[in-house]
């Protein structure tokens, strides 16, 4: 189920010198839903996510938040979450929780890390570090949670666990935005997809809507969409597709 729009991007563009990383992207981020950004490497997924977060400055366009009043509007899991060494899992969660008057134990229970609360963060596996990053992203109950490649480099069981948690975050009424190359998991979890290529938004729609275009699983749809798009770009130039 998708609800009201919490975040709206209008003609958002980001340039680094002569390189356009994101080009005139407009999209809405609805509540109660997982919105997945998919696209090949270098397509602008992470840059778009960071623009929506406000940690990258826009070259042009606007981003407007229209979600509920909240002390912290956006939660963020970076692609490679790294924590200050020398602290335990609980101390790390407590640092972020204290900034928004939250309960660190509640955050750790939310992601299933309560059993390793006393372990130093340097002793966590990659998956557990990612879970701690998700706990941090949930501190202060932000209405929108953005996750950059939450399961990249993890084993299938941990990836599945993380996507289950992602699903439950959206079920709790939040808007979730994620970038991922884990297409089978995205297909199962996302309510809406935004396909990016070369910084442009190629398609948006539900998984079903995109799948109808090719009749196959998401990875085939994904490949087909990008091929169609490349052909459309190439045709006016007279190049062969």
């Amino acid at each position: 189920m998708t609800g009201e729009t919490y975040l709206a991007a209008d003609e958002v563009t980001k340039k680094y010198g002569d390189v356009t990383a994101v080009s005139a992207v407009s999209l809405d981020v609805p509540s109660d839903a997982v919105t997945g950004f998919i696209g090949p490497n270098g397509s602008g997924k992470t840059t778009l996510l960071r623009l929506l977060l406000g940690v990258e400055r826009l070259t042009s366009g606007t981003i407007s938040y229209s979600g509920p009043d909240a002390e912290r509007q956006l939660g963020y899991l970076p692609q490679r979450p790294t924590f200050r060494p020398g602290f335990s899992v609980r101390e790390t969660a407590a640092f972020y929780a204290d900034l928004v008057d939250d309960d660190p134990d509640r955050l750790l229970e939310r992601v299933g890390l309560e059993a390793v609360a006393d372990r130093p963060v340097s002793g966590l596996s990659g998956g557990m570090t990612r879970l701690l990053g998700i706990a941090q992203a949930l501190a202060g109950d932000p209405p929108i949670v953005m996750l950059d490649e939450p399961a990249s480099g993890l084993d299938p069981a941990m990836s599945r666990l993380i996507f289950d948690i992602v699903e439950s975050i959206a079920d709790a009424g939040r808007a979730v935005v994620l970038c991922s190359h884990e297409l089978p998991l995205v297909e199962k979890t996302a309510d809406r997809l935004a396909v990016l290529e070369s910084g442009r938004l190629v398609r948006t729609g539900s998984v079903e809507e995109l799948r109808e275009q090719t009749g196959g699983p998401l990875h085939e749809t994904f490949t087909a969409l990008l091929e169609q798009d490349r052909a459309a770009i190439a045709a006016p130039e007279g190049t062969q597709s």
Partner: protein, 270 residues
């Protein structure tokens, strides 16, 4: 601006992190060994407070910024590289609260490393020097613990200014490698380069009449001038400061404020 609760959260984390880092304990021990070694090699502690300041001043002038840069050169660069600053951008935490909290925590650490050995040296002087050093002087020409306390207070101001310079460079660095290079360059400039620049300017406008004022414009020159004026020459009748005291005091405060605000803006842009 600064939010008290969040500033405190950041400050407490810095202090905890410092307490758990054994390298800082080693830095404190090395500082104590250097200061006691130099003071006793020069015979300062048996001579009194002012002779002890004379024995240690040059070392303190180099040691304090070195320690400040060791404590501060990665203070902002590290969290920037880790992506922590991006994550903290999503919290209701102002840059003032964050940089202020990190600065306060590291300043407490730096002052512990610098002030504890100096105070211990002062106690050593009190227990080994003659009885004439035990009075709190109310007039010039007399050695006194009060002069040593002034020396420590001026050293605190110099340490805090050196730390803000280290913070500014750390915030500008962007990477750990560049943070190290900038710190080494900054340290060289602070301890040697700025004085050399003033003396080099003797050929281009700075005269012997304005040399004192020009020296007071650099942090190291201002600190040295203040120690001479407020500590050493107080015990030596007939001598006056080689830099204007007010200019030296304002110079240190100016460098502290300028680099602190600069570090704030650089962190915001990081």
């Amino acid at each position: 601006m600064i939010d008290g609760t969040r500033f405190w959260t950041v400050f407490v984390r810095e202090v905890r992190s410092a307490v758990r880092t054994r390298t800082y304990l080693a830095l404190g021990l090395i500082t104590a060994i250097v200061l006691f070694g130099l003071a006793h090699a020069g015979g300062g502690p048996t001579g009194g407070y002012v002779p002890t300041v004379v024995d240690t001043l040059i070392a303190v002038e180099v040691l304090v910024p070195t320690l400040a840069f060791a404590v501060g050169y990665r203070a902002i660069a590290d969290p920037a590289v880790r992506g922590e600053l991006d994550v903290l951008d999503t919290y209701p935490l102002s840059t003032w609260s964050y940089v202020g909290g990190v600065y306060a925590g590291r300043a407490l650490l730096l002052l512990t490393i610098v002030v504890v050995p100096l105070l211990a040296l002062g106690v050593n002087v009190a227990t080994t020097a003659g009885p004439e050093t035990t009075v709190f002087a109310s007039h010039r020409g007399v050695d006194s613990p009060f002069l040593f306390i002034r020396f420590v207070a001026l050293t605190v101001l110099y340490a805090l200014t050196s730390l803000t310079i280290a913070f500014l460079l750390s915030a500008l660095a962007g990477t750990r490698g560049r943070a190290l290079v900038l710190a080494l360059a900054g340290l060289l400039l602070l301890t040697v380069g700025s004085d050399l620049a003033v003396f080099a300017a003797l050929d281009t406008g700075v005269t012997t009449g304005t040399l004192g004022g020009a020296l007071a414009m650099t942090p190291a020159g201002a600190y040295r001038g203040l120690v001479f004026d407020q500590v050493l020459y107080v015990a030596v009748p007939g001598r006056s400061a080689f830099v204007p005291t007010w200019a030296a005091a304002l110079s240190l405060l100016f460098w502290w404020g300028l680099t602190f605000v600069g570090a704030m803006f650089a962190t915001d842009a990081a």
